[in-house]
Symmetry: D2
Subunit: 337 residues, 4 copies
Amino acid sequence: MIIVMRPGVSEKEIQEMVKRVEEKGLKTVLLRGTNRNVIAAIGDKREIPHEYWEAFPGVERCVPILAPYKLASREVKPEPSVIKICGAGLGGRKIGVIAGPCTVESRQQIIEIAQAVKQAGAMALRGGAFKPRTSPYSFQGLLEEGLEFLAEAREATGLGVVSEVVSAEHVGLVGKYVDCFQIGTRNMTNFLLLTAVGQTRKPVLLKRGMSATMEEFLLAGEYILSQGNPNVILCERGIRTFEEHTRFTLSLSVVPALKELTHLPVIVDPSHATGRRSLIAPMSKAAVACGADGLIIEVHPEPDRAMVDGQQTLDLNAFAQLMKDLGPVAQAVGREL
Amino acid sequence: MIIVMRPGVSEKEIQEMVKRVEEKGLKTVLLRGTNRNVIAAIGDKREIPHEYWEAFPGVERCVPILAPYKLASREVKPEPSVIKICGAGLGGRKIGVIAGPCTVESRQQIIEIAQAVKQAGAMALRGGAFKPRTSPYSFQGLLEEGLEFLAEAREATGLGVVSEVVSAEHVGLVGKYVDCFQIGTRNMTNFLLLTAVGQTRKPVLLKRGMSATMEEFLLAGEYILSQGNPNVILCERGIRTFEEHTRFTLSLSVVPALKELTHLPVIVDPSHATGRRSLIAPMSKAAVACGADGLIIEVHPEPDRAMVDGQQTLDLNAFAQLMKDLGPVAQAVGREL
Amino acid sequence: MIIVMRPGVSEKEIQEMVKRVEEKGLKTVLLRGTNRNVIAAIGDKREIPHEYWEAFPGVERCVPILAPYKLASREVKPEPSVIKICGAGLGGRKIGVIAGPCTVESRQQIIEIAQAVKQAGAMALRGGAFKPRTSPYSFQGLLEEGLEFLAEAREATGLGVVSEVVSAEHVGLVGKYVDCFQIGTRNMTNFLLLTAVGQTRKPVLLKRGMSATMEEFLLAGEYILSQGNPNVILCERGIRTFEEHTRFTLSLSVVPALKELTHLPVIVDPSHATGRRSLIAPMSKAAVACGADGLIIEVHPEPDRAMVDGQQTLDLNAFAQLMKDLGPVAQAVGREL
Amino acid sequence: MIIVMRPGVSEKEIQEMVKRVEEKGLKTVLLRGTNRNVIAAIGDKREIPHEYWEAFPGVERCVPILAPYKLASREVKPEPSVIKICGAGLGGRKIGVIAGPCTVESRQQIIEIAQAVKQAGAMALRGGAFKPRTSPYSFQGLLEEGLEFLAEAREATGLGVVSEVVSAEHVGLVGKYVDCFQIGTRNMTNFLLLTAVGQTRKPVLLKRGMSATMEEFLLAGEYILSQGNPNVILCERGIRTFEEHTRFTLSLSVVPALKELTHLPVIVDPSHATGRRSLIAPMSKAAVACGADGLIIEVHPEPDRAMVDGQQTLDLNAFAQLMKDLGPVAQAVGREL
């Protein structure tokens, strides 16, 4: 940690600051520069946030040297983690595609989709039962009934099911049905929820908050890991920017950047990121090409009759075609589908 | 609602789209333009999100005419709402300042601060007991004990207390102690929590999500209102942008823009927005000057010894001075402090 | 164009507005809704900006139906444009890679690089001679001498040369040496410069402004086209967002989104977008996978001795390896390198 | 400067890096931490950009301690600069308001406006003659004729005139007529233009780039200062963010943040920032309240007949009223109008 003192700060303030740093068990080196005095603090106390040090009056700013997360880091675990959902792995050589409708609408709908996406090569089935909706007047999902239909679809196809959990108090209920929790972008900083799924051992598909930095995203994963659950899958789903041609801005560079720092698998959601059906296929290919371990894609037999998010949903044929087209891209980067 | 059809769409597709719009109970006018065909849909069905219409294959985009919220709107209730916290009102001529530490640290600390901010003219006391923290390794608050200390501070001073609630399941517990719930930026889209506080009648101080548009912010307020709780206070606290000189970007123009659209009071949090002690006073004055109904400010006797967020906290003297300096600004815009 | 009138506007104001719209040669349809009155204006007057209509007092907002650009649009020219630089084409089946150093440093340096990138399969040579630098104290380039060295590198290798022009008054000078002008992100809205290169017939590699929407980017291209120069190449190079793990955020979804709207070739600059050497290869592959027509990449024999931007530069071996690795990705999406 | 080495870097790489830093004339201290080795470099070589150091293979990142600008800094000149336009000063106790139309339309128009804004208390007259327009099909201004009309308005009223210069080659021409150059947001990084106005001694009103950080803004000012022209006025005019309720996001916190760092006057443009007439008055008051030295506001006798930007323009009465209302706000913060 590097503490930069303000210009013109007194010798006494510098010495007091040195003392306070040492009180926390860090060693210090005082660097007297031409225009600034700097205190270098040596030791690993990354649990103290850098803002703590910036509260002191003589301090201009504090620059952390170590990342604030540990368990998520490759420094702690260099080899990639492979996380299994009903036997199918994410994070190894094989790229996994999770597919299904935005929302479970009926037993028949979800079973039909499950069979179709399985045949096309999907590794797991997604489907929303508890839906976080921006407007209180929008359809909020089938709730537990939706989870029951998902479980039936698993029985019919053998595909693991992934569904969103929106509150710590639902973790028990949702966990009875699903093979992998999904935590949505609006809940990436719902720390009670992160803690609750961290206390299970089920895989957690954690979506990046739409305004989260990469470091904040890794810290959200660290919440889950720090409770003892090692099964965290990170998912880039678009960030909020000034762009208007897509609903969010898909930031694919975060995929290889994350993979440098963490052993956790990283997947991409091109449906929510773009909000546009025609962009799902090209952005899926791009995600695989830059090193994503998987994809999560919205699929519906009749997207224009879907209750939610039809405009960003592929129909069954388009999904089957995309799966065929992704194979050569995966091979081109040394992976397989 | 205006539905713009893609160029080259067939007559049959246009007619089918017209039929679907009319099936929802809307009247249509078909506008045949030089380069595009447009369907104007007349009637108030704002509960259907515009993305719904964009799922149909021939549709290029759909432009809503009406805002998706109703109860929050000045069209429904033109006169401003005045919301009371322990008898002190927000939203009228008098500007209210809520002050206190980021985190309740001890009985003595919170009572000392409560007395000081009351004397300086604050209308209510803030203090965190349940703290949402970005890192799992950071201090998470005193929990219920913190709420008890807040309640004691209320008894000692008569100031209403405001504290954050982070989960729907805590609403009962927190509601036993506080006079106003606070919902933080990371929970603005925690729809279960919005629904839960909506089912009480206690005031709710709702902070804007750090990447929420003004419309999404109003829809979050609408969630609470739609459950029957009319006591919603909106709080701008900074948005995430590329700027680096502050922690967030305080977007003050949202204050007068909100007040054109909604009858709800609008306040500003300069502490979290800027993350810099030296900017709190100037941004507080700016907030009052552009029409804010109040402020929420972090205050601590020794900011450099505060457990959380000391770098954005005023000491007691600086707060008392700010209160004095705000009076003339309030008067200059026809308000009082 | 759709003009939404404010609620409560008088009949007289509506009629006056109708008259003003018709004075501009548009036909009108007046739509009387439940909560709003709307004037639909039919006809193609896209040269009138929508803000013009929003200046009238009774108008809430104006929604344009037609894009404000024409010549760049696929509606005007459906087939893709192939643009040649010294005989090598961009925009067809073959993907083109432009490579070279950020800055021309010496005759020997640029000829060595030109030979190496040619051998690796590059289609053209890039190199900066006039450098726009954020700090006045940074190296500003070799100016005309740098252009002379580029021309010698062309003679030595046959590769076309691409170099930045930063001012309308330099267009003549730079045009004497280069085969393709480059316009940098900081000049995308330098309209005099766009006009000046539009009056030549040389290809122009136009980089997207770091905060330009897709529409503004196309309008910048339209400036050049509207002067009679059809040889415009669009280049995504990253936008400014809150992200910190890269210098800018590479927004790859703009590639397929642009290709839906325009016939112009679209290429990607992964060096400037990410600012990180290790991300160049994965993002190059992603760009090709989502449909880019080409890439522009910084290459230097000794990146850590480069005068500018070494941290985002590949060495010659890494570039040759990337070219080999890109081939299969191109083939996987039906292209070739 | 602090250079953080990658984990696992060899002793040889560390020693080589130390040597390279010392070769640049800096002293070094090597800090051996638990997880990282860090090289502290002591001395003032701020002209070497931090990216330079990040190009070396063993380097994880480089953290500069000193700001990259000097002449703009309060460290070099602690007392505030007062800059005069035709005798009226900006940067002292008195707040200055520059007002006028977006575009000069005719002799009569500009003289009428000049007289009105002078009477209302404006310190200078603005008016565009060379207009940078996003669309090639929009009105581009009256060019030199517009400048002549401005000069006549100065003769008629004694007000100094401010007008935009969009290219280095126009500096001579525009300088013949105006008392203060304006450099627009789209030209903040037009370094040739900055250099050219820096070689005059006329005041320069420099608008912040819509995606410029505060540091980049100060570096743009430094370009002008470094050429010998000390008369730079900084102007916040809104940044590009995801917000939709205004055209840009007015970031007022940059005003007090700039005034901590620089001696240059800082003013605010609420017209372009918000793009909405109704927000000009509240945001003008906020700007003054947080310490702005002045404002630049668009004024037109008939905003709905203005050729450009009428939707963000005040009429003459509204401007006169605003000037009256600003007086008490200025007094409330110890200034005068």
